[in-house]
């Protein structure tokens, strides 16, 4: 465990230094969705993607690679290899297009909600969530202060709209423990909840809760209300989709212990499949990890692929 943990944190830190992302990936993938949308650069209010949806396609390619490298003598070379991984491993084009479509759908919803916002494009920093979740708290604090806070200060950001639970959790529950944040944080689901939405999908679904949204951020009812507003029927079972009982997709362990991450995903998929063949996720990490392990038992869709702003 020790040597792999060291190697992994080393990869994450080196990667953050070189391309400002926790994984070796071409940073241009983060901003591709915004082409031709004419979103202003910077501004009082910004959408903060933290490149989470955009990284998912690359994560799907990387995890099997990590599984191979882990536990082999290559571990000691992990830092070295990580720099080349970005050149060798390429995300799947269909996955990229899918992530970009989800991003555009979110933007459209925000516009319908009457919010005007900017975007930091290639200057947008990653939140540092992975460092914190791995337990590298000191490294997280250093990173967050240096990269996230300074960038937001430089752009004079006063209001941040988050679109994923990990980034939202970092900004509302973690960073304020260490820093005084000069900006307000809003989650896009709270905006989406108050606008007219329509279904993009016909049929019953089961919701796979994000652990963070459901149990740490009090949003268990928010995305349910959005599906209700769109008239999408979601099957519930108190022992599978309850606030206490809905469990992890395995995502947080995908880098540290890919095998365990997969086992956890499979247990979750098995339980969800008892309720519906269509699983709706509200987090890009859940989307990636469940999809990668679904093996045809269920289809996994992001909430933005199931409902859209009218």
């Amino acid at each position: 465990m020790e040597s792999w943990v060291r190697a992994l944190i080393d990869i994450v830190r080196r990667s953050l230094e070189t391309n400002s992302l926790p994984i070796p990936m071409d940073k241009s993938n983060c901003t591709e969705w915004a082409r031709e949308l004419n979103i202003p650069r910077g501004g009082d209010t910004i959408i903060y993607t933290s490149c989470m949806y955009q990284m998912a396609p690359m994560i799907n390619q990387l995890v099997p690679w990590i599984e191979k490298v882990r536990g082999t003598p290559l571990t000691s070379l992990a830092g070295f290899l990580s720099r080349f991984a970005g050149l060798v491993i390429k995300p799947n084009r269909a996955d990229i297009d899918r992530a970009n479509n989800i991003m555009r759908s979110i933007v459209k919803a925000l516009q319908r909600a009457g919010v005007s916002f900017g975007y930091l494009y290639e200057d947008e920093p990653y939140s540092g969530a992975l460092l914190y979740e791995l337990g590298a708290v000191d490294q997280f604090r250093e990173y967050f202060e240096e990269r996230v806070l300074k960038t937001f200060e430089k752009y004079g950001v006063r209001r941040v709209i988050t679109i994923d639970p990990h980034t939202h959790y970092v900004l509302t529950n973690v960073a304020p423990k260490y820093f005084k944040l000069g900006f307000e944080v809003i989650n896009y689901l709270d905006l989406l909840r108050n606008i007219r939405v329509k279904p993009k999908f016909s049929g019953e679904v089961v919701i796979h809760d994000s652990c963070l949204y459901a149990r740490y951020l009090g949003k268990y009812d928010v995305y349910r209300a959005i599906l209700d507003n769109a008239g999408v029927r979601h099957v519930e079972d108190p022992l599978i989709t309850g606030k206490d009982t809905s469990t992890c997709c395995g995502g947080p362990l995908e880098s540290l212990s890919p095998g365990l991450s997969r086992d956890i995903a499979k247990i979750r998929i098995q339980n969800l499949a008892r309720l519906s063949r269509t699983v709706v996720t509200v987090c890009p990490i859940c989307l990636a990890n469940l999809s990668r392990n679904a093996e045809g038992a269920v289809q996994v869709l992001d909430i933005n692929e199931v409902v859209e702003a009218e």
């Binding site: 791995l134 337990g135 000191d138 652990c211 149990r215 362990l253 540290l256 365990l260 086992d263 247990i267």
Partner: protein, 388 residues
């Protein structure tokens, strides 16, 4: 290094989950006062943790007042030696399930002194004869399927038994009944210890604790200092809350023991013993607990009442079982307990496997913020690892 569960774990845990999880929800729905009792208990336990020395001293005085002997052991070896001196050698010792005995290696120590020592809780008995480690804080043989149990009883004790829970319980009862009747010493743990009276409360369903604490001439209570609660009233509450959140409510038996047995039936003169033990000893162990009480994060685990519900709701535990933690302390509560009793470096590798799904915190009767404690252990562990 990937982590894998014991053989047949997925079958065993699925069976356990499907019976235990709905039971607890049903018990709480049927008896909603238990939720209030749990809140009241948390406050009482916080009071003791904040003032450990005071309550340990109060417990000592109360135990001595009721005719018992009290011992406080700093380290595992101290605790073992105290018990070793009470027991001596060449004795038959019966034990009821006791995580602190596992924490401190008590059974093996007493065996090494030349005693015949038997676990009498069915689950603990099964892992004793299989020579395995416990896999769940409350159901130590959770990882063993009935098929495997039948096989172990045949191989280790020569007992023929079909893979049927009823038959397994029957054969174990026959085997252990003889040990109970011949035992010199009975060692139990404690669900709660009342500082105001020195009374010990133990909750159970099998009846083995009652026999362990009554039949032999000597009864030793062996547990951690965190079992102390201010009064007998709180101790009663703890037994009810623990049983309910473990999914076994009402518990079949609640045992209250306050000193050696006695009678005043002859001329109203109180003499000891009567039918029960003539000696009552209480050995409480610190082993990192008072240090933890002062830790701004880890202190909270001392509230744990060992119901094991967090494990039943933990996705990592579902996947790898007792490999998530270090026996006897496995599952979400096991990570901080391992840190308290064995240190951060022992708890760290398991802590890294936590997905912070947060179910454990939601279902904990004491509302312990387990994900926060585990993250703290991760970060302290990484500080050490990254320094090397």
């Amino acid at each position: 290094m990937e982590v894998s569960p014991p053989p047949n774990w997925n079958i065993a845990i699925e069976r356990a989950k499907s019976s235990n999880i709905p039971s607890v929800y049903e018990i709480l729905r049927r008896h909603p006062y238990l939720i209030d009792l749990a809140k009241e208990l948390r406050k009482a336990k916080e009071e003791v943790i904040r003032n450990f020395d005071y309550y340990i001293d109060l417990t000592r005085k109360s135990v001595e007042r009721i005719g018992g002997r009290f011992y406080l052991a700093e380290r595992p070896e101290d605790a073992r030696e105290i018990v070793g001196k009470i027991v001596g050698t060449g004795k038959i010792v019966v034990m009821s399930k006791n995580n602190v005995a596992t924490e401190t290696g008590l059974r093996q120590y007493l065996q090494s002194l030349g005693n015949e020592v038997w676990e009498t809780d069915l689950g603990e008995f099964l892992i004793q004869i299989a020579n395995e480690e416990p896999s769940h804080i409350l159901a130590p043989a959770l990882h063993m399927t009935k098929e495997r149990i039948a096989q172990v009883m045949k191989e280790r004790l020569g007992i023929d038994v079909p893979p049927d829970p009823v038959a397994i319980a029957q054969r174990a009862r026959e085997f252990l009944r003889d040990k109970f009747l011949r035992a010199h010493v009975g060692i139990t743990g404690a669900n709660a210890i009342a500082a105001d009276t020195g009374a010990v409360l133990l909750v159970e369903n099998e009846g083995n604790i009652r026999m362990t604490s009554i039949l032999p001439a000597v009864h030793i209570v062996y547990d951690g200092i965190e079992k102390i609660v201010p009064t007998l009233y709180h101790a009663m509450i703890e037994t009810l809350v623990q049983a309910a959140y473990a999914g076994l409510y009402p518990p079949t038996y609640v045992n209250l023991t306050a000193g050696p047995s006695s009678t005043a039936d002859v001329e109203m003169f109180r003499v000891s013993p009567a039918q029960g033990p003539k000696e009552f000893h209480m050995v409480l162990i610190d082993n990192g607990r008072r240090r933890a009480a002062k830790d701004p994060v880890l202190w909270e685990i001392l509230l744990c009442i060992r119901c094991g519900r967090c494990s039943m709701h933990c996705p990592t535990y579902w996947a790898v079982g007792p490999r998530f933690g270090k026996p006897p302390y496995t599952g979400p509560m096991g990570i901080p307990w391992t840190a308290v009793t064995r240190g951060i470096m022992e708890a760290g590798p398991a802590a890294m496997l936590c997905t912070h799904s947060g179910n454990c915190k939601e279902v904990c009767p004491m509302g312990i913020d387990l994900p926060k404690l585990i993250l703290h252990i991760k970060s302290e562990y990484l500080r050490q690892v990254l320094k090397r």
